[in-house]
């Protein structure tokens, strides 16, 4: 074999390895691209008299178009803004958008009896000036502004409450009238007498492992009659919760005496549920109580879950979307 032949073989092998590297890497890269940028599946409960809604948007890192805002048709006062530069993964980036619902902007004309406002599509606004309607999952906006209006600042929804939220890394409890753990009165007499609730807010909190609790102190004898969230059937056994009074687990219905403390504890277990591990949940666990005089009261605990977004979860999500598109 002469030198020219040797050189030819070296060049041919080098060319083959270069071509293999480019084709292979391009194929792997394509295989990991999201077919279309969009919102994760959201299951959100919120009230129109305060609180917040958080949306997560997933796009390919190569996508030059960034989401800068979101609006909801018919609710011009609910404005979302991108809350950070976005968290970048190997192939995708996730952008967070947050809307603080200003309770003063609620629409008092619409009563709760009409049922919650259900939002499935929002308008996404992009950095290049374009906008697009996007599926977001389901946002249930409970119209409580009317009720708050009728109670005329008596504090049924906001005198003693706290935001109990989970931002994925830290726990925080904020006092304020933003409608998180709220006590309220759904009785007909609410507008005619001062609100004198049979319980007072105790404490609340959540942790990054998806657990949380809300506690109230019972001041007059009441019966716990129900607990409701629209997303309990969706979550199934991926959401565990229990109600206890003075550390004793309760079953529905349960009579409670004055000076007892009532705690609702919950735990999201979505990591073991591939069907929902990339979904965003925001639950309002509304507990209902009946007083001896048949007056109905409620107390809400907010429970929120944001996906951990590990590389493996995002990869599985992208592959699922690619299969849907294929």
């Amino acid at each position: 074999m002469n030198a020219r032949m040797k050189a030819g073989i070296v060049y041919a092998v080098a060319a083959a390895v270069i071509i293999a590297s480019w084709i292979g890497n391009a194929a792997v890269y394509r295989h990991n691209q999201l077919p279309e940028a969009g919102f994760l599946q959201h299951y959100i409960e919120a009230t129109d008299n305060g609180g917040h809604i958080e949306l997560l948007y997933l796009a390919n890192r190569s996508d030059p178009r960034r989401i800068v805002g979101v609006t909801i048709e018919g609710l011009p006062w609910v404005k979302f803004q991108a809350s950070s530069g976005g968290n970048e993964m190997r192939y995708q980036r996730v952008e967070e958008l947050m809307a603080i619902i200003d309770p003063r902007q609620g629409q008092p004309g619409e009563a709760e009896e009409d049922g919650p406002l259900v939002i499935r599509e929002v308008t996404a606004h992009y950095s290049d000036g374009t906008s697009e309607r996007k599926n977001v999952g389901e946002i249930r906006l409970y119209r409580e502004a009317a009720r708050a209006e009728s109670e005329d600042g008596e504090g049924a929804a906001g005198a003693e409450n706290a935001v109990v939220s989970k931002d994925g890394n830290t726990d925080r409890i904020e006092d304020g009238n933003t409608g998180a753990d709220t006590g309220g009165n759904t009785g007909t007499s609410a507008g005619t007498e001062a609100v004198d609730r049979p319980f007072s807010f105790g404490s609340g909190g959540s942790s990054s492992d998806g657990a949380g609790h809300g506690t109230i102190a019972i001041q007059r004898p009441i019966t716990w009659t129900d607990v409701y969230s629209a997303w309990l059937p969706v979550l199934g056994d991926a959401f565990e919760w229990q109600v206890s009074a003075d550390s004793e687990q309760l079953e529905l219905p349960a009579d409670l005496d004055a000076h007892q403390s009532l705690t609702l504890k919950y735990q999201f277990r979505l990591d073991d549920h591939p069907a929902h591990d990339m979904d965003v949940f925001q639950l309002i666990m509304r507990m209902s109580f009946r007083e001896r005089n048949d007056q109905i009261w409620d107390y809400s605990v907010y429970a929120a879950y944001k996906p951990r977004m590990t590389e493996a979860q995002v990869r599985a999500y992208v592959q699922g979307k690619r299969r849907e598109r294929a």
Binding site: I18, A26, R61, S62, D63, P64
Partner: protein, 205 residues
Amino acid sequence: MRPAYSRIAWGLALELIDFRIQSFDVLPDALGYLLIMIGLAGVQPRNGRFVAGWIAACALLIESLPRLAGGPPIINLLQPQPLDSSQWLMMGGTAIVETIMLYGICVGIRGQALSEKGQAGLAHSALRTWQAVFGFGTAMLIALPFMLNADRSTTTPWLVLLSLGAFIAGLSVIVLVRKAGKRRAADEDEGEEGADLTTERVTEE
């Protein structure tokens, strides 16, 4: 040194060193490629490798013109930004054409040296220089697309090492061209100053 080789050497230096004041390129690549083209056109005797190098330099000059006119700056491999497929192909294509240009220069000089008596040393260093350029060029071309999929923390050290290697290989091409240029000058002087001096100069080199 013979002017043609001097131009090639200056052209390579301009292309190799990217000196910017803010976004303004003080030593534009386009000027470097133009000097290389002029230099390669003036090399005597010409051979097919020099012509291949000239065509490659011409292609690189055309590719670099938009940058001279304030077009998108050269891609910084250490601060990767999302590139579309055409930018990737352009980056890979440019690296291949640049390797062909350096092939033309190194192997062209080797061809000349082999055809002349007493230039075995120059032919040998031309071959070694080309092997270094080819090795780093190939390794860079293999490594580049891994930027698409591998962690930045994994690719960055490799790219730094390969870029450094490619830079040193580029410097060695400049040294080779200067050697070749001096050798040609010595040949030209042969008639005036005599064969003994020529031999002495070559030996010195």
